[in-house]
C-alpha cells in the first residue's frame, strides 16, 4: 500500500492504493465517487471514462498510482458550481440521451473531450468518437442528438463571449 495524491474535481485528495489498484477502483472505493462505473473487463464499454490531465481515458485501464500528482475529472465534477446540470448533462436530459443511466457518466465524459477537440463534429464524427462507449438502452440515437445539441449550445456561448 502506498499513499497517493491527486486533484479530483478540483479538490486535492489522497488515499491508499496497492500497485495493482486501478484508477476506477481508487475513485469508487477509496474516494466513494461511485458515478464512474465498471461495465466490462476488456477496456471496451467506456462506462468508466474520466479525464486525466485533461484527456479522456478509461479509468479501468489506468493504474491509480500512474495518476499520482495528476488531475482527474469525473462525472461528479461536471455540474455547474450551483449544482445545476452542465451543458452536456443538460443536453442529455433535453434529448432523452439516457435510459438506465449506467453508461451515461462515461458518455458525458467522452463527449466533453470530443467537443473540446472538435467543437462542431458531424454526425459521423460523433458516432466515430463514441467508439469507446457502449450503450445498450438508447440505440445511440438520442446520445448523438445530445452531443449535437451540446455542441450548438457551447458554440452559442463561445460566440456570445466574443
Amino acid at each position: 500500500m502506498a499513499t497517493i495524491s491527486m486533484t479530483v474535481n478540483g479538490k486535492q485528495v489522497s488515499g491508499e492504493a496497492q500497485g495493482n489498484t486501478l484508477l476506477v477502483e481508487f475513485l469508487r472505493q477509496e474516494l466513494k465517487l461511485t458515478g464512474t462505473h465498471v461495465g466490462c473487463d476488456t477496456s471496451q464499454c467506456g462506462a468508466c471514462v474520466v479525464h486525466v490531465n485533461g484527456e479522456s481515458v478509461k479509468s479501468c485501464s489506468v493504474f491509480a498510482s500512474a495518476c499520482d500528482g495528476g488531475s482527474v475529472t469525473t462525472i461528479e465534477g461536471m455540474a455547474n458550481d450551483d449544482g445545476t446540470l452542465g451543458v452536456i448533462q443538460q443536453a442529455f436530459q433535453n434529448e432523452h440521451g439516457l435510459q438506465c443511466g449506467f453508461c451515461t457518466p462515461g458518455m458525458v465524459m467522452s463527449i466533453a473531450d470530443m467537443l473540446k477537440n472538435n467543437p462542431q463534429p458531424t454526425e459521423a464524427e460523433i458516432r466515430e468518437g463514441l467508439k469507446g462507449n457502449i450503450c445498450r438502452c438508447t440505440g445511440y440515437h438520442n446520445i448523438v442528438k445530445a452531443a449535437q445539441s451540446a455542441a450548438a449550445t457551447l458554440a452559442g456561448a463561445a460566440q456570445a463571449a466574443e
Binding site: 435510459q99 449506467f102 462507449n133 450503450c135 440505440g139 445511440y140 448523438v144
Partner: protein
C-alpha cells in the same frame, strides 16, 4: 404551450438528474458495514463428473472467512433454483424439470456452472484463494447441438435421457395438413435464430445482509422484479417467510429480461450472510456475466407457408427446437411456447397454423426471456418466410402482406389469442411513406453506380404484451399470478406518494407514472413521488418485463387513483354539504356540479387527516388506496418497419442506410420516452441481425465470451432512426388504452434487416442467410451463390 406533465406530453425525465450527476445508486455502489466479498469458482468444463472439491488450502488462505461447496448447500437442506412455469407436453405430461442446485454437486453442466464460493475480507483475497481450490473432474461428452441432442447418447440430466424437456404443440395439425395439400404454392425456410447475451451495461450484483437481532434478511439485488425474487427465493430456496425477507432493487442498469430471473447468487449471498453473520457481496464482472446471465433466443426452426395462387396465406407450419441450456431458468419453458407459438398468426388471416416445439437440454448457459422473448422468434419466422414466398412468387413484399391483413376486430387467431384492436394498413402505409418506398429503385441505381448493392426489407410485427389474465396464464402453466399492484398514498397536505410494483431500470417510470397521476389528480408532477423496487415499502408487485409496466402497472395506478377520488368525493360532499352524486372531480377540484362551489384536492386531503368536520360515521379517516389490476387480455402493439441497407459485394459488409418504423402502441403517455424505447429496441434487434452471436464450439466452450468476440452494436454501426408513433388504436380493455412499447423495436427489426440484405442480393440468387449477417457470412453466401450460378 401545452403542459408536458400530463398524458401525451414529453415531460423531461425526472430521474435523469441523479444519473447525470453520477449520483445514481446502483447495487454495486452500496456497501454494508462489516461487509465480506464472495468470489465464485465456476466450471471451465461444459460437462463433467465432479469427483472432488478440495478447499483445505483455500480455507486457510489470507483473509478467507469460509469456502462453500455444493456439499454445504446440500447439508443445509436448501432448495434448488425454482422454475416459474410448467409446460404440459402434447401428450398431457408435465415437462422434465431437473433440479438446479445453487452450487454444483455430482456434475457440472455448463461452462460457468458454480462449483464453490470463497468468502473473504476483500475481493482480491477471495479470488486469490479460489485458485487454491483443487477440483477433480472427469470430462463427459458435451451436448451442444440441439439437432443431435436426442441421439447423442449423453444426457445433461439423468431424468431426460434424450435431452428433451418437452414436446409441445399448438394449433390444428389436421386443418393445417389439409390446407398444405391443397395449396398452389408452398414456401419452406429453415433457419437458426441466433443465441444472444442480453448484456445490460450494469453487471449483476447481490448483497445479502442478515440481521441477527431481528432474524431478518435483506437482499440488495439487480432485479427487474424484487417481489418475484422474494417469493421464489423465500418460499422455494431458503424457506424464509416474506415478513422476514426484504428484497431491494435500487437503480438497476438495464435488464432486457435477464434480470427477471432468480439466480443462485442471490440465494447464496442471502443464506451465507446468515451463516457468517456478516453481509456478503458478490459483483459479477463482464466475463462472468457471459457465462452466468441467462442467454436469449437460440431456436432451430423449419417453417412452411402454404399459399393460394394469388398469394393468400392458407396455412403455416412451424417445427422448432428451442434451447433451454443446462437448467430451466425462471420463465424459460414459456418463452418458445406460449410467447412464441401464439404469435404465429402475426398480422394475417392465416386460417390454419400448427406449431411444434421441442425444448432441449444442452451443456450451455440457461436460455430464458430476452427483450421480446419468443415474439421476436415468431416474428422473424413469419416475416422471413413471407418475404421468401413473395420472392418465389414474384410479388411485392408490401402487397403480399396487404393481401392477408386482418381488418376486422376482435379477431380470434387459430393460435389461441384474441386481438382486441389494430389497424395494420395504417402503420404499413405510414412506413412506406416515411421510408420513401417508391423512391427505392432510384436509390438502388445510385448505390449500384458506386458498386454497392442496395436492398430494402419490410417487417410487419405484432406482439402480445401486458401479460395477462392470471387465470389464463395459470391454466397455461404459470406458477404465479400476473397482475400488478399500486398504492396511492395521499399525504395530508396533498402531495402524493405512488408505490408501484413495477420496476424501472431505464424505462422512466418516475416520469411516466407521475404524468398518469398528475393527469388524473390535476396536481403538478413535483407533488408526486414514484417509489419502486423495495418490498418493504411496496405492498406487492410482479415487476417489469414483457412491456407490461404501463399497461398493467399503470392500470393498477389508475384503479388506485379512482378509489382515492371516490373517497375524496365522499369527503368533499360532506364539506360542501352536497350530495355525493353531485360531486364531480376535475382539474384538481371537487366541484358541486352546476355551481361554483368547490374544494381543492389538497383541502380534501387535509380533511381526511384532520377529520374535525368529516363523515366519520360513513368512512374512515386517511386517504390511501391500494389496487391490484389483473388484465382481461394481452395488449397487441403492432407496426411496420422498413430497413434499407447497402451491401459491399467485395467484403460482405452490410451498412444500415435507414431504418423507418411506424408503431401502434395505442395511447401514448410520454412520446419522448416511447420513441426512446423504440430506438433501444431497434439497436438490439439490428444487433441480433447483424452483429451478435453467442457462439459455442463443439466442446461447449463459449467462443464469444467477451466483447472481444461478442459484437455489441456501437454508435458507428447504426444510423439515426426514422421513428414515428402512429395515432394508434387504443387498447380496448385497460383504462389507459395503452399497449406497451418496450420490446417492439427488438421484435420488428431483425427480419427487416435480413429481408433487406436478401433483397439486395436477389440478383445473386440468394434467398436466405442466417443471422448475424456478419461480413464473413454475407461474403461467403455471395461466393457460394456465384459458384452455384456458374455451375448452372
Amino acid at each position: 404551450m401545452a403542459k408536458d406533465n400530463v398524458i401525451g406530453g414529453s415531460m423531461k425525465r425526472r430521474e435523469d438528474t441523479r444519473f447525470l450527476k453520477g449520483k445514481g445508486r446502483y447495487t454495486d455502489d452500496m456497501n454494508r458495514p462489516n461487509q465480506t466479498y464472495a468470489y465464485i469458482l465456476r466450471s471451465w468444463s461444459a460437462h463433467a463428473t465432479l469427483n472432488s472439491v478440495d478447499t483445505a488450502a483455500a480455507s486457510g488462505a489470507e483473509g478467507v472467512i469460509r469456502v462453500f461447496t455444493g456439499k454445504d448447500i446440500e447439508e443445509a437442506g436448501l432448495g434448488g433454483v425454482p422454475c416459474g412455469w410448467e409446460i404440459t407436453d402434447k401428450h398431457g405430461n408435465p415437462m422434465k424439470e431437473p433440479a438446479h442446485p445453487i452450487l454444483a454437486t455430482g456434475k457440472v453442466r455448463h461452462v460457468g456452472d458454480p462449483i464453490a464460493v470463497v468468502v473473504a475480507e476483500t475481493y482480491q483475497q477471495a479470488r486469490d484463494a479460489a485458485e487454491m481450490i483443487d477440483i477433480d473432474m472427469t470430462d463427459l461428452p458435451a451436448v451442444v447441438d440441439m439437432r443431435s441432442a436426442d441421439t447423442l447418447g449423453t444426457a445433461v440430466h439423468d431424468e431426460a435421457a434424450d435431452n428433451l424437456c418437452y414436446d409441445w404443440e399448438l394449433g390444428d395439425a389436421e386443418a393445417t395438413d389439409k390446407a398444405f395439400a391443397e395449396a398452389a404454392h408452398v414456401t419452406t425456410l429453415e433457419f437458426i435464430n441466433n443465441r444472444l447475451v442480453a448484456n445490460p451495461m450494469e453487471p449483476r450484483c447481490a448483497i445479502g445482509d442478515y440481521d441477527e437481532n431481528d432474524d431478518h434478511y435483506t437482499l440488495y439485488t439487480t432485479s427487474q422484479n424484487p417481489h418475484v425474487i422474494r417469493l421464489l427465493m423465500g418460499a422455494f430456496v431458503l424457506n424464509i417467510p416474506e415478513h422476514k425477507l426484504r428484497v431491494y432493487a435500487p437503480d438497476v442498469g438495464g435488464g432486457f429480461g435477464t434480470k427477471i430471473f432468480h439466480y443462485a447468487e442471490e440465494a447464496f449471498v442471502t443464506w451465507a450472510s446468515a451463516q457468517l453473520k456478516r453481509p456478503v457481496k458478490w459483483t459479477s464482472d463482464r466475463s462472468e456475466a457471459f457465462i452466468s446471465d441467462a442467454h436469449g433466443r437460440d431456436h432451430v426452426t423449419k417453417a412452411e407457408l402454404a399459399l393460394d395462387a394469388e398469394g393468400k396465406f392458407l396455412a403455416l407450419r412451424a417445427d422448432t427446437l428451442a434451447n433451454m441450456g443446462a437448467y430451466l431458468s425462471t420463465f424459460a419453458p414459456c418463452v418458445p411456447t406460449w410467447l412464441h407459438g401464439t404469435l404465429l398468426a402475426g398480422q394475417y388471416m392465416t386460417p390454419a397454423v400448427h406449431c411444434r416445439v421441442r425444448a432441449m437440454f444442452t451443456n450451455t448457459v440457461p436460455v430464458d426471456a430476452y427483450r421480446g422473448a419468443g415474439r421476436p422468434e415468431a416474428t422473424y419466422l413469419l416475416e422471413r418466410i413471407i418475404n421468401k414466398a413473395a420472392q418465389e412468387m414474384g410479388m411485392d413484399q408490401a402487397e403480399i402482406r396487404r393481401k392477408n391483413f386482418i381488418r376486422s376486430f376482435p379477431y380470434d387467431t387459430p393460435v389461441a389469442l384474441q386481438y382486441d384492436t389494430g389497424d395494420y394498413d395504417a402503420t404499413l402505409d405510414a412506413v412506406l411513406e416515411l421510408a420513401d418506398y417508391k423512391g427505392f429503385e432510384a436509390r438502388k441505381a445510385e448505390s449500384a453506380s458506386r458498386g454497392k448493392l442496395r436492398g430494402i426489407g419490410l417487417s410487419c410485427y405484432i406482439e402480445a404484451c401486458g401479460i395477462a389474465p392470471s387465470s389464463l396464464v395459470g391454466a397455461l402453466g404459470a406458477r404465479a399470478g400476473l397482475y400488478e399492484a399500486a398504492t396511492i398514498r395521499v399525504n395530508p397536505t396533498g402531495s402524493v406518494t405512488v408505490l408501484t410494483g413495477s420496476h424501472s431500470h431505464g424505462q422512466g417510470h418516475e416520469t411516466t407514472f407521475a404524468q398518469v397521476v398528475s393527469d388524473a389528480l390535476g396536481i403538478p408532477a413535483e407533488q408526486i413521488e414514484i417509489v419502486h423496487g423495495d418490498t418493504d415499502k411496496i405492498p406487492f408487485g410482479m415487476g417489469t418485463y414483457g412491456s407490461r409496466s404501463l399497461a398493467v402497472g399503470g392500470s393498477a395506478i389508475v384503479k388506485a387513483v379512482d378509489k382515492v377520488v371516490a373517497k375524496g368525493k365522499k369527503i368533499a360532499a360532506h364539506l360542501l354539504e352536497a350530495a355525493e352524486s353531485d360531486i364531480v372531480f376535475e382539474d384538481g377540484q371537487y366541484k358541486v356540479a352546476g355551481t361554483d362551489k368547490a374544494k381543492a384536492f389538497a383541502e380534501v386531503s387535509l380533511a381526511a387527516y384532520v377529520p374535525h368536520n368529516y363523515p366519520i360515521e360513513e368512512i374512515e379517516p386517511g386517504l390511501e388506496e391500494t389496487a391490484f389490476y389483473d388484465p382481461k387480455n394481452f395488449t397487441y402493439p403492432a407496426g411496420s418497419y422498413l430497413c434499407e441497407v447497402e451491401v459491399c459485394p467485395e467484403t460482405g459488409k452490410v451498412e444500415i442506410v435507414a431504418l423507418s418504423a411506424s408503431d401502434d402502441f395505442g395511447n401514448v403517455v410520454n412520446p419522448m420516452i416511447v420513441e426512446g424505447q423504440v430506438h433501444g429496441g431497434l439497436a438490439q434487434g439490428l444487433g441480433q441481425a447483424m452483429l451478435e452471436n453467442a457462439a459455442y464450439d463443439e466442446h461447449g466452450q463459449l467462443v464469444a465470451g467477451s466483447y472481444m468476440d461478442y459484437a455489441m452494436p456501437l454508435a458507428v454501426d447504426l444510423p439515426s432512426f426514422n421513428v414515428e408513433t402512429a395515432e394508434g388504436t387504443p387498447c380496448t380493455h385497460n383504462p389507459l388504452g395503452v399497449k406497451g412499447c418496450g420490446e417492439a423495436g427488438a421484435i420488428g427489426s431483425p427480419p427487416a434487416l435480413v429481408n433487406a440484405v436478401v433483397n439486395a442480393l436477389e440478383g445473386h440468387g440468394i434467398d436466405h442467410i442466417d443471422m448475424p449477417l456478419s461480413p464473413l457470412r454475407v461474403w461467403t453466401a455471395i461466393q457460394n451463390a456465384s459458384v452455384k450460378q456458374a455451375a448452372e
